[in-house]
């Protein structure tokens, strides 16, 4: 593939780079405890928290396991567990 002048590429290419495999610990949301305040999605630096119809979920393709969501979660619904591969 020829390189483009100035490394100009189509937008949204970050989606092609699954950065979740950098993770060495994983957050897990307990839906029973979660009060759906949305704070975790707000603070996630990688925009890796998704809101579905009835819950919040971590997108493990992009979550790097920084733990900010768990730190900020007032309901203490997020646990940080060691990543096992």
């Amino acid at each position: 593939m020829k390189l483009t002048k100035g490394a100009v590429v189509e937008g949204g290419t970050s989606l092609n780079y699954k950065t979740g495999n950098w993770r060495d610990q994983r957050p897990e949301i307990d839906p029973e405890v979660c009060n759906q305040c949305g704070k975790c999605r707000e603070v996630c630096p990688d925009d890796a928290v998704r809101q579905t119809d009835d819950r919040y979920e971590i997108d493990y393709d992009f979550c790097k396991g920084c733990g900010i969501c768990a730190y900020e979660c007032k309901a203490e619904a997020i646990q940080i567990l060691p990543e096992e591969k």
Partner: protein, 396 residues
Amino acid sequence: MGNIKVVEGSEAVALAVKACRPHVISAYPISPQTHIVESLARMAADGEIDAEYVRVESEFSAASVLAGAAAAGSRSYTASSSQGLLLMTEVLYASAGMRLPFVITGVNRSISAPINIQVDHQDSMSLRDAGLIQFYVESVQEAYDMHLAAFKIAEDPGIMLPVMVCMDGWVLTHSYERVQFVEQQAVDDFLPPFAPEHYLDPAKPKTWGSYAESDAMMEFKYAIHKAMTAGKPRIQVILDEVSALTGRDNSGLVEAYRTDGAEIILVAIGSVTGTVKDAVDELRDAGKKVGLLKIRCFRPFPHEEIWQAVKDATIIAVMDASFSMGSEGSIGLDLKAKLFGRPQAPMVVDFVAGLGGREINTRTVHRLVARAEEIHRSGEVLPESEWIDLDTTIVS
């Protein structure tokens, strides 16, 4: 052909930029660049140009505004000097890498410390590796002419790089000269609107300068170098077009002055070349075979053109108004690198002259030529550049 007026050098540059119809101008004032951007700001405020003039808090921001404007498909312009140019450095490397064309007037001024506002070439020479095309001009008229060429060269689809037109601070920016202007219609015919292949568009998002790993970084960097070197014929064509437009010959990447049969060839850039031409005339009158090679285009470095002009000489005396600390003068370094290994290459003697506005007059050039001859006769290989008129008694 357009009208003739006596104008300040800065005004001539502002009028050239105006004639090129920029969309975006962004600058932060610094002496001796100030009058150029003041003129353009006034033109924008008075509605004489249809450009957005973006006031910024630093040169870093000015260069960043230009990068964004160029990515959006706007013809854009700035000017700066000295520390201001250095503050742009990071953005200029990035802009060259993203192949964003815009034009900068590099108004040459020395670099602190100690603080000094007079002319030398350390500022623009410190940017020579960034991927900018660089021109150095001798006169106000040449500054006007080269700014017309600059936008077309920058925006050439095969080049797509920022272009810096370097002009000596004060000596050119603040002196009044007779300038012949080109009619607006002729400039419009010469310079079509900027129409880049890629431009920022919210409907079709794109990324400039996206991530390159070790498998592609070398290729991206080589592409910039290639745009410059392979772009030389295009630069040449555009300089020819400008020469036809103006009726003045600014067509060479170098300009050879009385180099035919010359044994000693001085190599210089910028406004000092006018003084050197006078000194060459005096030396020729005295029977000395001396000539001048003025380098108009410093990046890409026109080593083939230089070789053709100097190959029959015995000595090349380089006049460098900038210095790579711990090594040599900037032009000397390039010239030696490109001549080394050529059979029968002339001896290159590198002189450092004119730092911080130190006067260079015709007598300085006479002394320099005499010293070059002396070095040549002695067969001595100088361990380092020779600093002309250096008062060693006060060096601590």
